[in-house]
Point group: C2
Chain length 336, copies 2
C-alpha cells in the first residue's frame, strides 16, 4: 500500500495541504462543511497523522524515557508498571533503556536525549555511575529529569526514593534483637546512593547496640552469579562466618540460600537472613524470607507524576520535589 | 537555553539552512572547508539533529515497539533483555507497551503504529485477544510484525515460539511416571495459543497412558491473585483433589505452595507439581520446583533479529520465519 499522507487527502478532495492540515486540527479558519468532508475521508482511508511531523510542529514528542539498570528484577519491573500506568493516562509513549550497570552506556543514552527524542526522563542510575556530568548537562539543556530509587546526590532535581537508611537500620536492629552478634552486609556497588544509605543504617544499628563494625563483614558481591555464589560460599564456610546477613540486592538471595544448603547451615538456626526484595516468592521459600519490601509501583508512579508536572510547566521547580516513600520490614521465618 | 536548531548554525555561519543540512549529511555538493566549519561549530555548540526531523526525511523512526501483557514476570523481563540486546546493536530505540491482558488496549496501541511511530513491532498477544483484525490491518498497512511466545494462529507473519505442546506433554508424562493418577491443568486463558498447545500436550499424555480426561481437572484461574488463591485452595481442599498439578503460568506457583501449606498437604508427598516458569527462585523454594524453563532471552533476541531483517528489506518474506526454540524440563523435588 502506498504511504497515506496528508497529500493523499488533499488530492482526493481537491483542497490544499494546508486546508486539510487545518481541518484536521479543527481550526476556526475552516468551515464546518469542509471539516466534515476531511474527517470523513480521513476515517474512510484510515489516515493517522505522522506523530513525528506533529512532534516537530508542537515541539514535543509525547514520549518519555525510562533509563534503568535492568528489568529482570522485581523492583524495576514493578516500577515500570507504575510509570506506565501514568504515561498511558497522559497519552504518552514510554521508551525503555537498559544500562546493564554500565556507565559509558548510560552516558551515551543520555546524550541522545538532547535531540528532542523525549520530553522527559525517569532514571535510576547505574552501579558504575560516580560522575554526574552527563546528567547535569542534560538538565542544563532543558530536559526535565526525575530520579527514582537510585539517585546522584550532587544533581539538583526531583527524586523519589525510599527510606533506605531507616529500613536498613530497622532490619539490622531486628537481626540484633534476634541475637545475631556478627552481621554481614552484602551489597553490589559502593557508589550507589542506596547502598551508601543502607550501609549507614547498618553501621548506626551496630554502633547503637555496641557491636563492632568490621571491614570483613562488609562484603562486595559485584561479580556474575557464579562468582557471587563462590564468594558467599567461601564466606559462609569460614569458621568465623557471620550469624546474620543483610542482603541489599534481590539477586543475592538465591546464592545465599544455595550456599547454606550446600554447607548444611540452617536458616535461621545458624544464619539469620534479611533481604531487600519485592519477590512474591519470598512467601514460599524455605524458610520464608524476611524482606525489606520497597514501594516499587508507588515509586514509579509518583516519579512519573512529578515528571509530567515539569513537562507540562516548562519552569516547574523540580528541585523541591524530594519524595520519600517508606519501605516495609516483613518479618518471616528466615530470621526465626 | 534557547532551542538549538539547524537555523542557529546557519545564522552563526551566515550560510543557508540547506547548506548546513547537506554539510551535516556529508553531501558531495559541499566543500571540505565548509563541512569542517559546520562540524566544528556543531560540536562546539553540542548540536544534535532532531531525530524526528531526520525520521521524516529518511521515512524511518529508528524505533521498534514491544507489545506485551506485562513486565512483572520472569519470562517477559528476560525476553525484553534479549530484544534490547539486538536493538542496541542496531542503534534502535525500544518502546514498551503493556496491554495488561486487555484486548481494547491492545487494539488501541496497534492502531497508533500506523502513524509511523515505529519501524516494526514485536508482540506477545494479550489473554483476551480472540480476534486478529487489528493485527492483520497493521501488517497490510506495511508494518513488519513478529510474534514471540504468544501468537495469533490466523495471522501470517514471523513467529518465535517454544515447543509448548511437547514440553507440556513431557511434563505430564513425568507426573504420570511419578504415579500421579489425577493431574490438574491450571491455566489463565482458553484463547491463548500457548495454553491451547499446552492443553493439547497434557491431553495427549493422559490419553497415551490411559488416564481419563476430566473437565473438572482443567481449571481456569483468570482472576486476581486473591481469587486465584481461593479457587486453588478450594480445589485442593476437596476430597477428590488432584495428586498432580501442571501450572501453565508463573504467577500460579505462589498460591499453589501457599494453599498446600495452609491445608498441610505435602509437596511432593500429597501433590506433585510442575510449573512453567523462569524464576531463579525455583531453586530455593521448599521443596525446589520442577519447572518447564523457556528460552526467554533467546526467544526475544531471535524475534528481534527476524524483525530487523524485515525492517532492512521492505519485501522480506516474514511468513516463512516460523522458529521454534525448545524449552527444558528441569526435574527437582516438587515431583519427588
Amino acid at each position: 500500500m502506498d504511504k497515506l499522507t496528508i497529500r493523499t487527502l488533499a488530492k482526493e478532495l481537491k483542497l490544499s495541504v494546508s486546508t486539510i492540515s487545518k481541518a484536521l486540527r479543527d481550526s476556526h479558519e475552516i468551515s464546518a462543511e469542509t471539516k466534515r468532508k476531511v474527517l470523513e475521508l480521513a476515517e474512510k482511508l484510515n489516515y493517522t497523522p505522522n506523530p513525528y511531523a506533529s512532534s516537530l510542529r508542537k515541539k514535543n514528542s509525547n514520549t518519555i524515557a525510562v533509563v534503568l539498570p535492568e528489568v529482570a528484577d522485581s523492583f524495576f519491573s514493578l516500577a515500570i508498571n507504575g510509570i506506565e500506568s501514568v504515561a498511558r493516562e497522559k497519552g504518552y509513549h514510554v521508551l525503555i533503556y537498559l544500562t546493564h550497570e554500565n556507565f559509558a552506556r548510560e552516558q551515551s543514552i543520555l546524550n541522545d536525549f538532547k535531540s528532542g527524542r523525549v520530553d522527559g526522563i525517569l532514571m535510576s542510575v547505574s552501579a558504575e555511575t560516580n560522575n554526574s556530568d552527563h546528567i547535569n548537562e542534560l538538565i542544563n539543556f532543558g530536559k526535565p529529569l526525575v530520579f527514582f530509587d537510585r539517585v546522584c546526590e550532587d544533581v539538583e532535581t526531583g527524586s523519589i526514593i525510599t527510606n533506605d537508611t531507616e529500613s536498613s537500620y530497622e532490619a539490622t536492629c531486628h537481626l540484633i534483637q534476634k541475637k545475631c552478634k556478627k552481621i554481614a552486609f552484602l551489597y553490589t556497588s559502593p557508589d550507589l546512593s542506596i547502598n551508601k544509605k543502607r550501609l549507614e543504617g547498618y553501621t548506626k544499628a551496630l554502633t547503637e547496640f555496641g557491636l563492632q563494625l568490621k571491614k570483613e563483614n562488609i562484603i562486595l558481591c559485584d561479580g556474575d552469579s557464579d562468582s557471587n555464589y563462590k564468594l558467599i560460599y567461601k564466606t559462609l564456610k569460614n569458621k568465623t562466618r557471620p550469624d546474620g546477613i543483610l542482603a541489599c540486592v534481590e539477586k543475592l538471595t538465591t546464592p545465599i540460600y544455595l550456599a547454606c544448603k550446600e554447607l548444611k547451615l540452617s536458616i535461621p538456626g545458624n544464619i539469620k537472613l534479611v533481604s531487600f526484595t519485592n519477590l512474591p516468592a519470598a512467601l514460599i521459600l524455605s524458610p520464608t524470607l524476611t524482606t525489606v519490601t520497597q514501594p516499587a509501583f508507588e515509586m514509579g508512579k509518583t516519579a512519573a507524576e512529578i515528571l509530567f508536572k515539569a513537562i507540562q510547566k516548562p519552569n516547574y521547580n523540580l528541585k523541591k520535589e524530594k519524595i520519600v516513600i517508606a519501605s516495609c520490614l516483613n518479618v518471616r521465618d528466615s530470621t526465626g
